[in-house]
Symmetry: C2
Subunit: 225 residues, 2 copies
Amino acid sequence: MISEAVENYLKMIYELQNETGKVSTNALAEKLGVAPASVTGMLKKLAEERPRLVNYERHHGVSLTPAGQKIALEVIRHHRLIELYLQQALGYSWDQVDAEAEKLEHVISEDFEDRIDALLGQPEFDPHGDPIPTKGLQLARPDHPRLSELAAGQSGRVSRVRDDDPALLRYLAELGIIPDATLTVAGKAPFGDTLSVRVGAESDSPSHTLGRPVTDQVFVEIQGK
Amino acid sequence: MISEAVENYLKMIYELQNETGKVSTNALAEKLGVAPASVTGMLKKLAEERPRLVNYERHHGVSLTPAGQKIALEVIRHHRLIELYLQQALGYSWDQVDAEAEKLEHVISEDFEDRIDALLGQPEFDPHGDPIPTKGLQLARPDHPRLSELAAGQSGRVSRVRDDDPALLRYLAELGIIPDATLTVAGKAPFGDTLSVRVGAESDSPSHTLGRPVTDQVFVEIQGK
DNA sequence: TTTCTTTTTTAGGCTGGCCTAAATACTGCG
DNA sequence: CGCAGTATTTAGGCCAGCCTAAAAAAGAAA
Ligand SMILES: [Mn+2]
Ligand SMILES: [Mn+2]
Ligand SMILES: [Mn+2]
Ligand SMILES: [Mn+2]
């Protein structure tokens, strides 16, 4: 039986792999809130599992095997389906869903998964715009640019927001910066670390000044213009 | 932080206390699917917890302290609310809900609890007729007689069914023996171990022959007649 | 009350998952 | 190349929860 700890390790390895390419012991330790030595120990075990869950060689980082990736995707599917369900069916706000899903993801049955999936109409995205792996564990990877990378004058549709920081999520919701919102970069301050962003499709939509910590967390599908 | 294992021990102690009065090491071990020696070890720890969760003296059984009972009731509230929610909101049948609730009960937040409680309209009973402790952890204890204890000719309302055995639950559901159903004992075989029971309020309602293993698991509030 | 049986506890061990401190390997720079 | 600094691994421990086997206590029966 796969433990909750193992599921979290595999999920984190998967996510780090897709964010930063390489997966180091230290990065993993940091994300998991655990000492680096503990990670080394766990990676050894995962590599000795039969079937092997990760490819691991001392000092050379780690990557998921197909078996490991399958488990990671199952956990991610649970996580994102649950997030959406909590929001849609139970009225959670998008900054509350992550914490609850973090625990529930390890515990629900396949039956539960199937039922909420059906109830939500086989949804493709979670409340933060993250794609939900299909039942067959296929995962769309849109990979749009960050808001901070847009040039002045460009506009587009918010596709995804990083779901790490609840306070940031509340702030963004207040501004109306949620998936599918329309954004236009009205202006860019020197050195590009501050943007003036119009939120909404109308030319008289309200505009806000956003710093790098914010604009790095928002992903935009560039449109028209 | 209270672990899942501790929560399960406290819940089981509570339930054994209310079923059989005394709580023995062996009975607890059996219910938990664990060796008796493991129970002894855990009971010692629970008794040394600050605040104390159980009263325990070697060879003299165990009982819950107020602090232990509070935790037990919180877990039971979670369990029964979740069971009802799974049935009402997700379409689970009453024989499936227990297994899923067994895991979820340890993991949901107070927020989750409050939300499903509100959504269900602060329900008083779970799908098997077990009372749900209130938010303040008050628990109604109806304590009706078993169907097996009724005399021929008596009738009443099914108040509760023991939820242990999914196969039995499916069988009972087929016969229409669910909470609030009306039953009448049409006849009693010699030595009283087999009953002929009419299910339904009409005098032409279908009647079934039920053995002790079944009639011991059904509780009836005797009415009229 | 003595003996036998059943119940419970003690003793000793194991695994998973974490920790700190110390050792070692890699990396980039002078 | 050699060395400093960083990243990683090893060594040695701890705690929760479980196990089996053996000892001891309680309870029933003679
Ligand atoms: Mn998790
Ligand atoms: Mn998310
Ligand atoms: Mn449980
Ligand atoms: Mn129940």
